[in-house]
């Protein structure tokens, strides 16, 4: 199962412990994690279920490319980091 690690900065708003879930894409893995932690979903995804504008996700150290559908592939051994994007400033 893929491991999902959330930025520590979100923790004071909503608890997002490191989680494990199976799935072939970032979307599949994250939706399983959010099924158990629905409040966290809105902190990462927008109303259209796309990645929030100033958030970023890495899969095994590579920033994902599909921010709308989250279709980037995930391996069973992958680690997914959900971070804030340093968008400047």
């Amino acid at each position: 199962m893929a491991k999902v690690v959330f930025t520590p900065n979100v923790q004071r708003h909503v608890g997002c412990p490191t989680a494990e879930a199976a799935g072939a894409t970032v979307r599949e893995v994250l939706e399983k994690v959010f099924a158990d932690n629905p409040q966290a979903r809105g902190y990462v995804l927008d109303d259209q279920a796309a990645l929030r504008r100033h958030m970023t996700i890495f899969v095994d150290g590579q920033m994902i490319r599909d921010r709308a559908r989250l279709a980037d592939p995930v391996k069973d051994s992958s680690t997914i980091h959900v971070f804030q994007a340093l968008s400047g400033g």
Binding site: H13, G42, A50
Partner: protein, 366 residues
């Protein structure tokens, strides 16, 4: 009279209490976070606070006996697959709540009903104290809604919601930029209002298009709801027919540009404004912060400065940062440079509560 103020700032929500004649900061919630607006529901005393966490999005909290709890943020419906919607500048409009810009309680006969205006232009209603939200599809799907534009913000937004005190199914909202819209059936259908307003930033043939009007703030008199006041991007307008038609008020010193307007709850001819020089110079004239007040429907204005800074003051007062208490006696004023003032004599004189607060977005008596 209200002895309690909620002050929404870039770095937290401050509670200010009247204590022996002085107003003092008594506490802060959400310290460090961007609090953009509050509503305290006069029907049940519950408070609502809108936060914008930037990276993590817009959130809504509701007061409890012991503090606050997060409740659902109004959310836009899924955009149809393949559907593209672009704004005036050709940018794709994301159907997602990017700001909560208006919160209003429903009528006395509909407990739990809360209205919420947002960027990029969605109006929402909750019938269960904010536990769930429904977008007003008839307004969102209106063809003219797609012609709304961002004004000072990137996207268009609903910032003013006036629930008619005689009949809560009659609701008027104002949009920057998209004029004034009215429902007589609780939100099922909407019509545009606001004939008579004038947009000097548009070509002459479109200057009176009601949908092109950049209303900065809309206020309705509680005892005489036919009277509405508008602080507009390029002027002050007044209506005596529930916003159907407006008359422009001209010749107001020091200026007619500003963001907020409040109207006395019982005296429809009495309203307050906070003037800035002009749209391209959004600072008080000559560095002197002033409030203007008319008591005769806009024929004459008092320029109120006693207790407000009169040298090198560059305070901007946003549309939700001027508040009038329920009886119409006390006013509060908060600025972008962290100044907070209270008046207990309808603006004749002001006392400074603080001039070192974070940038203030909204002030509400609670």
């Amino acid at each position: 009279m209200s002895d309690r103020l909620l002050v929404s700032t870039r770095k937290g929500l401050f509670t200010v209490l009247r204590n022996g004649g002085d107003w003092e900061i008594s506490g802060v919630d959400f310290l460090g976070d961007n609090v953009t607006l509050t509503l305290t529901d006069p029907r049940d005393g519950k408070s609502y606070a809108a936060l914008d966490h930037g990276h993590f999005g817009v959130k809504l909290h509701r007061s409890t006996a012991n503090g606050w709890e997060e409740i659902p943020t109004p959310a836009y419906p899924p955009k149809p697959e393949g559907y593209q919607e672009k704004d005036f500048w050709g940018r794709e409009i994301n159907w997602t709540t990017s700001k909560i810009w208006a919160l209003a309680a429903g009528g006395p006969n509909e407990p739990g009903t809360i209205w919420c205006g947002t960027l990029p232009g969605g109006l929402f209603r909750s019938n269960d104290h904010g536990q769930s939200w429904e977008i007003m599809r008839s307004l969102w799907d209106h063809p003219l809604r797609k012609k709304w534009n961002g004004g000072g913000a990137d996207w268009p937004g609903i910032h003013s919601i006036c629930v008619d005190p005689r009949n809560a199914k009659q609701v008027s909202v104002a949009v920057s930029t998209g004029g004034i819209w009215h429902t007589a059936d609780g939100g099922k259908s909407w019509t545009q209002r606001g004939e008579g307003m004038r947009a000097e930033y548009m070509p002459p043939e479109q200057a009176h298009d009601p949908n092109a009007q950049d209303v900065h703030c809309l206020a309705q008199c509680r005892a005489a709801p036919q009277r509405m006041w508008v602080q507009h991007h390029n002027g002050i307008f007044v209506s005596s027919d529930e916003g159907k038609t407006f008359t422009e008020i001209t010749g107001v010193e020091p200026s007619v540009f500003g963001f907020p307007v409040v109207v006395h709850p019982k005296e429809p001819d009495t309203a307050w404004f906070v003037p800035e020089i002009k749209d391209e110079k959004r600072i008080p004239r000559e560095g002197k912060l002033a409030v203007t007040r008319t008591r005769d429907g806009g024929k004459n204005f008092d320029v109120l400065t006693k207790g407000l800074p009169q040298t090198h003051a560059y305070d901007v007062v946003y549309r939700h940062a001027l508040a009038l208490d329920e009886p119409g006696a006390r006013l509060a004023l908060g600025s972008t440079t962290g100044g907070l003032w209270v008046s207990e004599d309808q603006g004749d004189s002001w006392a400074c509560v603080s001039h070192t607060l974070p940038p203030i977005y909204a002030v509400r008596f609670a």
